[in-house]
Amino acid sequence: MIEGKKIYLTKEGLERLKNEARNLGELKLLKTKNEVPKILQSEDLNPEYLSFQEDLSLFEARLADLEHIVKNAEIIQVPPKEKQNLISLGATVVVEVDGQEDEFEIVGSLEANPAIGKISNESPVGKALLGHKTGDEVVISSLVKTVFRVKKIKYLLS
């Protein structure tokens, strides 16, 4: 992550990360007091935190990362109705490419997970689609050309 750069997140994504930061901060505080964190005895505890206890470098790195994210986060908003015909962050897009139909949601880099159909707004495909409307042909022109035809744009964010 680039220092000072805006980090786009969905509302749910930001909430999840804020909770994680809160839990890790609490653990850190207890550890500095040399107390056995009660949170570790909770049945609801994410087992990952137990592992963090064993890998302190990850614990520290993750906490610093989360603090940076929360500080620089900007929530992805659904655009006003008159702009919902255009692809922007948060849009779920149906495209036709190489004779196949595909669907993905355009999200910020941190929430991107192409394996489940969430692609980053900073990836070549995400970047190229932004600002286009239904019916547009979007060409990623480089030595190997890819053409996407935008078939549908939806905003499913809460």
């Binding site: 990952e48 890998d55 669907e103």
Partner: protein, 206 residues
């Protein structure tokens, strides 16, 4: 010492495990999982220096990211679609596998559960500190908990793409346009995008 020896013997099996995706593409003498890990480590080290991340941590993440394959199957995106007939497999490989959002999520969830259990089986006897370190490094790769984990995740896809282009150049049946489309949906790291541009120029400028 015995549990570490057992771990080393088991992990060493990846040196002989041919990558299933390449076998599906009928690549002759395809790379093994261990060879893929070696290539990824080099990419992560060289590009990680440029990215100014903790390359030591990133290389360790790369080293453990596929350890689960000692016991877990090496799954490919095509798996749910594969027929038994080899000729039909060729036809399927001409298109990128498409699934609904719901199916993509279910596939991922199932894959993670299987891989997590396989990793647990591999590290179960190791000293606690070492065991937990391996597990958290793997978790970092899977969930992108740190900038190193997120970098290695994308680098893993890019090194796979690079290998695909090497096979394509040798004359193997790789649908390079589909691969290019796939990688352009995945990579967003500026350092890796620069490498992708170089790969494209290297293989396609003539």
């Amino acid at each position: 010492m015995k549990p570490i020896l057992k771990f080393l013997i088991e992990a060493g099996k990846l040196k002989g495990k041919k990558r299933r995706g390449w076998k599906l593409h009928q690549i002759k003498n395809p790379e093994t999982t261990a060879e893929h890990i070696f290539h990824l480590c080099l990419l992560v080290w060289t590009m990680g220096e440029k990215k100014k991340i903790d390359t030591g941590r990133a290389i360790k993440i790369a080293l453990v990211h596929d350890l689960c394959e000692v016991y877990a199957p090496d799954l490919t995106p095509y798996d749910p679609l594969l027929p038994k007939n080899r000729k039909k497999i060729k036809e399927i490989l001409k298109k990128w596998p498409q699934f609904s959002q719901q199916m993509k999520k279910e596939k991922e969830k199932g894959k993670k559960q299987v891989e997590s259990a396989a990793l647990e089986k591999l590290v179960v006897g190791l000293p606690v500190g070492l065991k937990e370190k391996i597990k958290t490094l793997w978790l970092d790769y899977e969930q992108g908990l740190t900038k190193e984990g997120r970098f290695v995740k994308q680098a893993d896809k890019l090194v796979n793409f690079l290998q695909g282009m090497i096979y394509w150049q040798k004359g193997d049946e790789i649908q390079y346009n589909l691969w290019m489309r796939w990688i352009r949906e995945i990579i967003d790291d500026p350092v890796l995008l620069e490498l992708l541009k170089n790969i494209e120029e290297n293989f396609f400028s003539a």
